[in-house]
Amino acid sequence: MIIRKISHFLCNYENIMPLFAGACLLLFIAGILLLPLPYSEKQLYPKTFDRNSSLDPYDRGGPPFTQVSIVSQYPENSPTAGLVTSYLTPFSLFLSQVTMHLGTTIVAHPGGIIDEILYNTRGLDTVVEATILFIAFAIASYIYRKV
């Protein structure tokens, strides 16, 4: 019977990965069929390029320690947004003055330290992300130590 066959396939956990991959396959095929997707022109945190900046393509504008405006969902919730963006560590600042290619390395992340959007306006994301990393390392090191 077909039901018996399906249930035999399902009950073996070796099969769930192919099963899930198959489901994703179908979903993405459906996704292709349902294209095109509309793209909202009113986006948060829009990106602009300043090809002449030494921080390009990571430049979010503004001289150090002055606030640049960032299009966020609830600007009133992050009053210091835009201040952190233009902060550069002394070394990054030095590099940005002597070379035009600072932006091509992640060292030249505006601020040289952290990503403004990731940490200030969307801070909860980065907290969860750091926690996931922490948990994964805890698992790996526990298993490594114990087994």
């Binding site: 990965m17 192919p18 991959a21 198959g22 994703c24 396959l25 993405f28 095929i29 996704g31 292709i32 294209l35 095109p36 997707l37 793209y39 986006q43 948060l44 945190y45 829009p46 990106k47 979010r60 992050s78 009053p79 210091t80 201040l83 952190v84 560590t89 070394f91 992640i106 060292v107 992340h109 601020g111 040289g112 330290i113 952290i114 990503d115 959007i117 990731l118 940490y119 200030n120 801070g123 909860l124 994301d125 980065t126 907290v127 969860v128 992300e129 750091a130 926690t131 996931i132 990393l133 922490f134 948990i135 994964a136 390392f137 805890a138 698992i139 790996a140 090191s141 298993i143 490594y144």
Partner: protein, 201 residues
Amino acid sequence: MWAQYSYGILVIMVAAVIAFYALARERDDLHKLLLLDLVEIVALGIIAMLGTDLAEALILPGLTVGIAELLALSQIYCTKEGIRNRPVMGLNIEVITKSDAPLILSIFLVAYGMVLSGFTGGGVAGLGLVFLFISRTYRNDLNLLEMASGISWAIWIFAFFVFMFLPQYWFVALMGAAIGILLKVTVKMSLVGTMWGKQHD
């Protein structure tokens, strides 16, 4: 309606279909894990299609989550398959006093990493420690590393709360985050280095 965005998504979706087809056909456990690493790229691609600074902010967690899960799973794979003696050996460096040269190099790298600060800084400093651990064979204390990892996590979270609730002290938060992430990346990389090094008794 067929704007640039849809064309980009189309290409990524086709890639997704191919990747998931491969994953559905694969029977070997290790290859499944390797393929998953590829499949993850698809998600990053779709996020990148946003084309704003937001995309950049979303890719980073996405990437981290993928890497973290991959690390934990590969460790479970090793245990489950009973792989104990991995053919990775410590570095054999030909110098007269074997213990000093890697130490000096590591100190240099760590100091340089601190100057750089941020993600890359953590990476460089971590590399220094990795180098130290894999070139030495003595048993180092994993517990200590785990604790350092926990502390760096706590600093990171603390800085976040300063940002959220005491925005006027944003500079403190910024520095806290800087130290936190430096410690974090350093510790994580040296943890990997320790695991990769010679098997302890």
